[in-house]
């Protein structure tokens, strides 16, 4: 078992986003999180976080430890969802703070899930809306 993948992987509980999620995607499967990951994939997952940590370390050594503390505090504030519960937040201020809003990565150009031909839109949701069968009262 490749443990290095586990340490670096962000572990999450399954979040039920819509009622027919298990019908479409199957029951939650934690096995994929324990299986070994490609070394390049590990790099892609951790690259941004590692680079930020390196930056903070360097800033702490140059300017004193309170400066990265201030920056981390600011980042935490921006990381909070500011919309009403169950509405997704865009985290635009976080992107601007981290500088990723003007960065172009392969994730932005290639294999865009919005342009994918294989993955389909949530058909059940759309049909429920169309027929007026939604859970919202």
């Amino acid at each position: 078992m490749d443990l290095s993948g586990l340490e670096t992987e962000q572990k999450t509980l399954p979040i039920i986003s819509y009622s027919s999620e298990f019908l479409e995607n199957g029951l939650p499967n934690f096995k994929s999180q324990t299986l070994p990951k490609h070394p390049v994939e590990k790099i892609q997952i951790n690259k941004q976080k590692n680079e930020r940590e390196k930056q903070y370390n360097m800033l702490g050594k140059v300017f004193g430890s309170q400066y990265p503390l201030m920056l981390r505090l600011e980042e935490e504030i921006y990381n909070q969802p500011l919309r009403l519960p169950c509405l997704p937040s865009s985290y635009l201020s976080l992107e601007v703070f981290r500088g990723t809003d003007i960065e172009v990565e392969p994730e932005d150009l290639y294999n865009d899930p919005n342009k994918s031909l294989l993955i389909q839109p949530p058909v059940h949701q759309q049909m429920e809306q169309y027929l007026g069968m939604t859970d919202l009262k």
Binding site: P36, V40, I43, Q44, E107, L109, P113, S116
Partner: protein, 273 residues
């Protein structure tokens, strides 16, 4: 949340295949190219052949291997064609954004750092071997970039499967006080040497001369190697009777019938009356 970029879904399946089923891993294909770069007194000359191969077959006899990164920074690419094109396209995008946000004209060294950091992140899986050359406000620069992310700065460079043939010509003919015409002819000879002596290279010769605030692209400057001497005249003419007739079926020609709208025909009849 669905994310774009590279897809690693099949990695676990591949690991199982290799361990349990003794699957033979396919070998990486060699780069079938000759690309060359030379620094002269005023600037840089880049050269490339134009053959794109897919295994033993020539997929494109006249492709473009010299890509634009900025107006006066160009890059010749060897390796997987998709990797070189998309990598240089992405770095060109990033460099443009950077130069707009800093308000300064882009440097060759910046493009080099962006490329080498990008390629190192993928540990050589993006097989793009590049010859990056250009002229910025600090002068002419020429760099070579290997797929794993290592770089070198040299006065003359050759890469690809025809690099040995081209390097032989460069080593013989290079001198540090060359002018533009000498550099152009040296690069031309180096690419020709690669085309003639290497199986993976062929086609025409492309040249790119970059000087301060000037860029000249000579597309297909030499096409003597791509003209096929012996060619059958088109169209193919077959004598009648050269194909054996197995069966004959003769159908009567149907008369052309017009379908008239009922209402229209009634209106016409009423009008006549």
């Amino acid at each position: 949340m669905q994310k774009g970029g590279f897809n690693f879904d099949l990695y676990q399946r591949n690991v199982e295949l290799i361990e349990k089923n003794n699957y033979k891993v396919p070998k990486t294909t060699k780069t079938g190219t000759t690309i060359v770069g030379v620094v002269f007194s005023d600037g840089v000359v880049l050269g490339a052949d134009t053959r794109a191969t897919s295994g033993p077959i020539v997929a494109d006899p006249n492709c473009e291997k010299i890509h634009r990164i900025s107006d006066y920074i160009w890059c010749a690419g060897a390796g997987t064609a998709a990797d070189t094109e998309n990598t240089t396209g992405m770095i060109s995008l990033q460099l443009e954004l950077l130069s707009l946000s800093t308000g300064r004209s882009p440097r060759v060294r910046t493009a080099l750092t962006l490329l080498k950091n990008f390629l190192f992140r993928y540990h050589g899986y993006i097989s793009a071997a590049l010859v990056l050359g250009g002229v910025d406000f600090t002068g002419p620069h020429l760099h070579m970039i290997h797929p794993h992310g290592s770089t070198s700065t040299l006065p003359y460079i050759s890469m690809g499967s025809g690099s040995l043939a081209a390097m032989a010509v460069l080593e013989t003919g290079y001198n540090s006080k060359m002018g533009e015409e000498d550099a152009k002819s040296l690069v031309h000879q180096a690419i020709l040497s690669g085309i003639l002596n290497d199986l993976g290279s062929g086609g025409n010769v492309d040249l790119c001369v970059i000087k301060h605030k000037s860029m000249e692209f000579f597309r297909n400057i030499d096409t003597t190697n791509s003209k096929r001497k012996f060619r059958k005249k088109l169209p193919y003419m077959f004598k009648s009777g050269s194909t054996k007739i197995l069966e004959k079926q003769i159908k009567e020609k149907m008369e052309k019938m017009e379908i008239v709208n009922e209402k229209e025909s009634q209106i016409e009849e009423l009008e006549e009356l």
